[in-house]
């Protein structure tokens, strides 16, 4: 589904002494089936923006569209039902949302709530549990007996079971160890590749993830759009990113340093994997 934001503004606690503008004059257009990463400093408005996309917040000005649906100031709760069916959301620490007696029941809660029969819900839930790597012998266990990594996978399966077209991920791997992190990121990427109706919007502080998985990057600063483009375009602008208090992937950082120190203008600094970085260094050394 195509996602747009037109002249969107959001103010917390409007018309009170605590009024705080979190987003203003925000315009964005995301094509169907895109993996978008949103980066920006803490407090730049990233989380506010993604909460507008399934109506958890409604814009105080302007409008957001998700496919054919519109969200604006006066959108009724009833209409949001359909949007929430299409837009799934995984927050930081999604395992805090687990509640049911068993793993399977917990995952089935969403689809049943959105009108699926018990049988359908069970089917799709099992499919999603398999996708996230939860074995059948855990289905009847209490979700609270699982390890942190497993709990997170179950919680993510619960969101995927709603069969959303747009998946919003707000730092989905916060607190996981490197292996757990990579596991979850790969699962989510696999889900994205599973159908060309699916889109992902990832809010992240990790530039490596933004460069590795996303096709499109949105950079936010103080509630506004600061930059936008492919990972190659965005991460080529190191100075601008630094001015916004953001880093660049480690690979790019090292190659930039090498380019500066050696004065070799031929070095292409926009490489995002270890392998590509090694090749670039070898070609710099004249060894390729």
């Amino acid at each position: 589904m195509q996602i747009t934001a037109t002249d969107v503004a959001y103010t917390y606690m409007k018309d009170t002494p605590f009024e705080k503008k979190a987003l203003h004059n925000f315009n964005i257009r995301l094509k169907n089936h895109t993996y978008t990463a949103i980066i920006g400093q803490t407090g730049s408005g990233k989380s506010t923006f993604v909460q507008l996309l399934n109506g958890l917040l409604k814009p105080t000005e302007g409008e957001v569209t998700i496919g054919d649906w519109k969200i604006y100031k006066d959108t009724k709760e009833k209409e949001l039902y359909f949007i929430r069916k299409r837009v799934g959301m995984v927050f930081q620490f999604p395992e805090h949302q687990l509640f049911d007696e068993t793993v399977l029941k917990d995952v089935m809660y969403g689809p049943i709530n959105f009108g699926k029969s018990k049988k359908e819900a069970e089917e799709i839930s099992k499919e999603m549990l398999t996708l996230v790597g939860i074995e059948p012998d855990l289905y009847e266990r209490s979700p609270f007996e699982l390890s942190g990594g497993q709990m997170r996978r179950v919680a993510i399966a619960g969101v995927l079971a709603i069969e959303p077209s747009v998946l919003i991920l707000d730092e989905p791997t916060a607190g996981l160890d490197p292996q757990g992190h990579e596991g979850i990121m790969n699962i989510l990427f696999q889900w994205y590749k599973g159908s060309d109706e699916r889109s992902i919007i990832l809010v992240t502080h990790q530039m490596e993830d933004a460069s590795r998985y996303a096709e499109h990057i949105i950079v936010m600063d103080k509630g506004e759009l600061a930059m936008e483009g492919t990972p190659e375009e965005v991460f080529a602008q190191q100075k601008e990113l630094e001015a916004l208090g953001l880093g660049i992937p480690e690979t790019v950082k090292l190659l930039k340093l090498l380019k500066e120190k050696s004065g070799d203008k031929k070095i292409n600094t926009v490489k995002f994997t270890l392998g590509d970085t090694v090749e670039e260094i070898l070609s710099f050394l004249g060894k390729d």
């Binding site: 990594g149 292996q179 502080h205 953001l246 880093g247 090292l254 090498l258």
Partner: protein
């Protein structure tokens, strides 16, 4: 001087559970910065909770400044010496405003009003929270909240600061800022710092790294030494920092670099030299 001593520590939550800590022997010197690393579930956070007597061993002994945590009478004294900051700031913020929250511990300890006001302001300044004194903590972003928690911990003038993944929810700038400040506390005020983390980039900065797996210590030494030990890291399910991976990959491809070069600057310098020779 040893400030924390753990001797043959064993622990399980309930008698029927399996052991979560097995034969832990660890000595931390006053003024040291020790990072404890390991994957989720390796026991590193459990271990941290022995340092201020939140948990006590079922076997063995933990001494903090020579005081045994197994003696309940020592707990108040121990907890004044050891400040802890946890991963999720929402679980540790209690005050209605930032300054109230930072003052909470001081107030509990009966610090006189004038001194309290001064110490609160000092801690707030140090954590870069100026201007937010009257904000409601739950309206702040995650990173800001964590700095509030840190300010509260620091206001108590602890001898030991234990950070249990306290930076894992901050953005890169916020993370660097907090680490820089922790570094300063460690260097200038000789505060003993213990950071629990699985970010090895953070562990590189510490004096000593302790690697945990399945409730046991499987590595203990200089970060630069442990980070080149691939087997150990693999066992511990940790990932080498990028710069180590890169040096190794380049060595494999016949680029003559010694493994000792670890900073980006040093690597780039070596590469420039190599290029001129070719």
């Amino acid at each position: 001087m040893e400030i924390i001593q753990m001797n043959n520590v064993y622990f399980r939550y309930r008698p029927s559970d399996k052991l979560v800590l097995k034969n832990i022997n660890l000595t931390i010197q006053s003024g040291e910065w020790v990072s404890i690393v390991g994957h989720n579930g390796s026991g590193k956070s459990t271990l941290a909770k022995f340092m201020n007597a939140l948990f006590t061993p079922i076997e063995g002994q933990v001494l903090v400044s020579g005081l045994s945590t197994s003696n309940v009478n020592n707990h108040t004294l121990i907890r004044r010496k050891v400040a802890m900051v946890f991963q999720n700031p929402d679980n540790q913020i209690v005050g209605p405003t930032v300054e109230d929250d930072v003052a909470f511990g001081l107030e509990n300890c009966g610090v006189p009003y004038e001194e309290m006001v001064q110490r609160v302001q000092e801690s707030i300044n140090k954590m870069g929270l100026n201007g937010l004194e009257l904000s409601e903590p739950h309206r702040l972003s995650g990173g800001q909240k964590q700095r509030v928690a840190l300010a509260g911990a620091i206001s108590m003038n602890p001898k030991i600061l234990v950070l249990d993944e306290a930076t894992s929810m901050l953005d890169p700038t916020g993370r660097e800022e907090v680490i820089r400040y922790v570094q300063k506390l460690n260097r200038d005020e000789n505060m003993t710092v213990i950071t629990i983390t699985h970010d090895l980039k953070e562990a590189v900065l510490s004096d000593r790294m302790v690697v945990m797996k399945d409730g046991a210590i499987i590595g203990n030494g200089l970060p630069s030494a442990l980070l080149t030990n691939k087997d150990l890291l693999k066992q511990a399910r940790l990932r080498q920092p990028f710069i180590y991976e890169l040096v190794e990959a380049l060595t494999c491809r016949g680029v003559p670099i010694s493994v000792g070069q670890i900073s980006e600057e040093e690597l780039v310098k070596t590469l420039c030299k190599l290029q001129q020779q070719m």
